[in-house]
């Protein structure tokens, strides 16, 4: 690196102003960094990651863009334990029956017309609500959250990690139709 800089700085810098010489050295460092980044990415044991990726396809990106508040696992645990929020399970109803967060109510986004009416009677517009679906890649909870916002619910957060993160954390699971 010193030799490279000598080549850059030694002969040329006598003829160029200090600012230009500094810019040259900055560019040298940046070019070296880009080269190292490219080489390291190619040589990565677990495979290169793409230089350009459309993050807009991720549910999290869509949620953040929509201004939806994201809740971490700790908030889901608190909501389930201390009942600080109503938990709404946006997965298909058969997934809810197979296992859900204790206390959660089933509101499958794919059948929202059937389920929302009866549930709506139990909720107020300012009710603190937490939605979830199967994990970070499903979008039913996001769509449900947006639907609730359109219905004037003002305090809805999205637990992005969903049921997968809940199970991974070793938390209890309820089964069947009862919350």
């Amino acid at each position: 690196m010193t030799a490279g800089n000598d080549a850059l700085g030694g002969a040329a810098a006598a003829r160029v102003p200090g600012g230009a010489a500094l810019a040259g050295r900055v560019l040298l460092l940046l070019a070296a960094a880009v080269a190292c980044a490219g080489l390291a990415n190619v040589l990565r044991p677990r495979g290169a990651i793409r230089w350009v990726e459309d993050w807009g396809r991720y549910v999290e990106a869509r949620a953040m863009k929509a201004g939806i508040v994201l809740a971490p696992l700790s908030e889901a645990v608190r909501a389930a334990g201390a009942q600080t929020r109503v938990l709404l399970d946006a997965r298909p109803h058969h997934d809810y029956l197979a296992g859900h967060i204790p206390g959660a109510l089933s509101l499958p986004y794919d059948d929202i017309a059937s389920f929302f009416g009866p549930l709506q009677m139990k909720l107020t517009r300012a009710q603190p609500i937490l939605t979830y679906c199967s994990g970070a890649d499903c979008d039913e909870a996001l769509l449900l959250t947006q639907y609730l916002a359109r219905q004037q619910f003002t305090n809805v957060v999205l637990f992005l990690g969903g049921f997968a993160e809940w199970e991974r954390g070793g938390h209890p699971v309820a089964r069947g139709d009862a919350p």
């Binding site: 700085g9 900055v26 460092l29 990651i49 230089w51 993050w55 991720y58």
Partner: protein, 146 residues
């Protein structure tokens, strides 16, 4: 003053080399941290996540080990600190609660706060002072004799 200058260089180099290593080892996790700042167009996120840690690492190493590149390294570190600090301040102002992604790529790490701005302000002062001092010495260092 000489010892103070050495201390500043050591701190800045340690911070930037230390910050770079985990990001280089886990580029996609770092990309997620960059993405969460919501400051870059999405197609640029991976590009930034792949190159930034290497810029940090080489600048830190150059600041410490390559006197001829010290002014350039200090200038880059100063510019990076200004960008990082702006990004943190903007997200704090937005009320976004995310991990800093500065020394850890774990999204569950401690959320950033005003402490990060105070720390970065101190680092910016050190980098600016180091750059100014190195630029004076660097200017002499690269001028051909005669």
């Amino acid at each position: 003053m000489k010892w103070f200058a050495l201390g500043c260089r050591l701190v800045l180099a340690a911070v930037f080399i230390g910050a770079a290593v985990l990001k280089i080892l886990h580029p996609h996790d770092f990309a997620l941290a960059v993405f969460r700042y919501q400051m870059l167009p999405y197609p640029w996120v991976n590009l930034a996540a792949l190159t930034l840690p290497w810029i940090e690492l080489l600048s830190g190493l150059a600041l410490l080990l390559v006197p001829r590149l010290r002014d350039a390294a200090a200038a880059i570190i100063l510019a990076l600190l200004l960008v990082f600090t702006t990004a943190i301040a903007v997200n704090l102002a937005r009320g976004v609660s995310i991990a800093c992604g500065c020394f850890s790529v774990d999204p569950a790490a401690e959320k950033m706060g005003y402490w990060n701005l105070v720390r970065n302000a101190a680092l910016i002062l050190m980098a600016a002072w180091t750059w100014r001092r190195a630029a004076r010495a660097g200017g002499r260092g690269v001028t051909a004799p005669g």
